[in-house]
Symmetry: C2
């Protein structure tokens, strides 16, 4: 472990917390080494660090008691869903108490007329959508992993259909949050909009548990479209694919998904998911609407793609075909990892204005070649967001150095292009050093907010800021 | 004036500010009584209170100098656009310095590929859209007044097409903001999404100038649709109209506008704008899309409306007809005011989950009748938001008491229905006392943020919190 042990919380403080909350939680409080270690890593290349205790909570009130105890004893406290973050957000560098919310996965209400649902933060997106199956509604945000909704809100996640349905930010109506002093705050009403006071929900979304722990969410649901059609289309180069995407947005085609995979990603996906796509830069598309609307969108998009060199259209109209297509797309990061079995992966995550996307991708691919890295590329090109999944031996200093160089170059260029160092993965441990360049004086404002709300720095300390 | 003079800033502090910024601004700094009085009121019934000085600024740097001086001397500082707020947001109850941003209305960039624009905060929505006329793009947020974009962001405004294009909150990509200490913060990149740090843009949107002054914004633009069609349709009662709206949302008809006017509103609009709509509850609809898509939407919506008792469909397909229709709709508040010439108006602004909308409207109309008020109703029913435009003599204590009773009942019911006391008008002076019930412990969090960022309480003091 690379953790600086001087940072870890003192044993007597921890003992005080455990004594206070032990009776409350019984055997749902564990200091078992294996359980702690299991909660000390996420899906990233970052070195793990285990918390000192794990609490499997069942209610907001329990979370409030734990947080209050940790605050009183100055013990770090972190939230954990299913551990799918990829910038080390759940890594307990300073030890402390991990609050595992995965057993808080109840659905309190689904309201078809209002098209919303109130759920506990530990529910995953596939759990929620399985429950919604017969309602004609769905929850749209779909990061690659089957993350919890609390985790998705904490890291301001998005997914493949953001271009049509928005990120988690646009899909949360209100939240219940335990603040650092143990107070329970409901961040707003269930109305579709409100101008009543500061927008606490949006302040807490993306705060990575550094300002509070999300325990419940009311989220927007969307109606399942009458008709759905999906397609893949190949291009000779990435620039042609991006130009087709730009044209489709200019035309106002309301596409539900526009995903790009480069030839190496296609190779990896073909191997991992048993697909047989031509190994070329490929757009994965999905259209939602009425039957006539979908047909019209598909025709127009087909023409645009051909104009920019698109070929080898393959349509997936049956639900099973579409599911297989998107399952393959969602597992692209895992597929990439199999290019070098046993290695870790690091996914870069810049997001730029779409006019700068083709140039950013071209420069990134040149860097990957120059640095000798294995790094398939895929991305949510409708949003200007793409990932290079760098598969590396994290204990090899040369590979780490090459990754650092790649990330530095990518991010510096993205920020110069008025883009961001992270479109959807968050800051965690990995992006902290890039925030100064991105936010300047804004970083001081963030620090002032953090100091005001969490004066003892107990909430996921050392992350983000 | 109803102002408590004890609250006003001391003359010597003000003199210190004026001395500091006088050379910088020359004759763009005024203490002329008429100019100050002109900046001491908005469009609401709230009693005016003039600032002690008005600065007509030309740059973010000037705003920063003024704010810093005010902070150093503990003098209140308020931003002013064109004075169209309606909860007293610009009223200088404690005097101080008003920063008039209306001359900061430059357009720095319009980027057709990225579909965004960077503008100064003093530009109004019609100024921006006039500039965009030949680009095929438009800025969507359209409150009734021709507000400035800075004002719209400060009050978290929305308009008639929120149901399709979102409120100002969803249409701001980044902002330049002068913080209370005079620091200039850019709240984020121009990327469509970002997970890098706390969401300062969304914290500052809707903060009504209590945390900082917005000087520039980068906003999303939308493509003008290939085809547009508008229609009005009458119903026997409000419940039928609301049921039709709910059904249209369930069907997923991507309508651009769904506005309800009750019979008294129609009467007022007919008189004010020379229209001849049947005096019944009426939906004003607009469809955007491809020619075939709009035709399909209109057909489906027509069927749904008839199912819920809709009749007297009138279509407006020519651009002039549509413009006249929406001009009439946008002037509904002014039309209402003419029902009692010389009186002031107060627009209520609750927003509820749409399942609670029909009940809320019914109860509100019963209250209006019982209290003997003149109060036409209209609203953005797709969002669950409606206004009663209460036309009143604000110096008549009985009418004021009746308005207070109405507002109290409306808001109490809305909050009990998981709605909000304000959907889009903001808090200002008028809604402060309702925030405790709406936010509970969240209000303490807001106060902690305010105290951390504006420790001297100079930014629009007394508003919101």
């Amino acid at each position: 472990m690379a953790t600086d042990s001087a940072l870890r919380c003192p044993p007597d403080a921890l003992a005080g917390v455990i004594e206070r909350i032990g009776t409350l939680l019984g055997d749902r409080l564990s200091t078992n080494a294996a359980i702690c270690e299991q909660h000390g890593h996420d899906e990233s290349w970052h070195h793990p660090a285990a918390p000192d205790a794990v609490c499997f909570v069942h209610s907001t009130a329990e979370v409030a008691s734990i947080v209050k105890a940790c605050n009183d004893y100055r013990v770090p406290v972190l939230a954990y869903g299913v551990g799918t973050s990829i910038e080390g957000q759940v890594i307990a560098e300073r030890g402390g108490v991990c609050i595992d919310l995965s057993q808080m996965n109840a659905i309190h209400a689904v309201r078809p007329v209002d098209m919303d649902a109130t759920v506990e933060a530990g529910i995953t997106r596939t759990q929620l959508n399985a429950h919604l199956r017969d309602t004609g509604l769905f929850f749209s945000v779909d990061p690659g992993a089957d993350a919890t909704l609390g985790g998705m809100a904490s890291t301001r996640a998005s997914g493949t259909n953001t271009v049509r349905y928005g990120t988690i930010r646009e899909n949360v109506l209100s939240m219940t949050v335990v603040m650092p002093d143990g107070e329970i705050v409901r961040t707003g009403a269930r109305a579709r909009k409100s101008a009543a006071g500061y927008d606490l929900a949006h302040l807490l979304i993306g705060a990575e548990g550094t300002l509070g722990i999300i325990t419940e969410l009311t989220v927007r649901l969307h109606g399942l479209p009458e008709a759905v059609s999906a397609a893949t289309v190949c291009f000779e180069d990435v620039a042609g694919a991006v130009d087709a995407v730009i044209a489709s947005i200019q035309y106002g085609i309301p596409m539900a998904r526009i995903e790009l995979l480069d030839s190496l990603s296609i190779y990896a996906v073909n191997r991992h998911s048993g697909r047989d796509h031509p190994e070329k830069p490929t757009l994965f598309l999905e259209f939602h609407g009425t039957a006539a609307g979908v047909a019209e969108q598909a025709t127009t998009m087909g023409e645009l793609c051909r104009e920019f060199g698109g070929s080898d259209f393959t349509w997936a109209t049956l639900e099973e075909e579409r599911s297989a297509l998107w399952a393959a797309r969602h597992s692209a990061a895992y597929a990439a990892k199999q290019l070098r079995p046993g290695m870790e992966f690091h996914a870069t995550d810049i997001c730029v204005p779409i006019s700068r996307l083709a140039g950013s991708i071209e420069a990134a691919q040149a860097d990957v070649a120059e640095l000798g890295l294995t790094a398939p590329l895929f991305g949510h090109v409708g949003d200007g967001n793409f990932h290079l999944v760098v598969v590396l031996d994290r204990d090899n200093p040369d590979e780490r150095a090459a990754l650092d160089t790649l990330n530095e170059r990518l991010i510096t260029r993205a920020q110069a292009a008025e883009g961001t160092c992270t479109g959807e993965h968050g800051v965690g441990l990995g992006k902290r050093r890039y925030l100064e360049a991105e936010h300047g004086a804004g970083l001081d404002v963030m620090r002032a907010i953090k100091a005001a709300l969490d004066p003892n720095n107990v909430m996921n300390p050392g992350k983000m800021l």
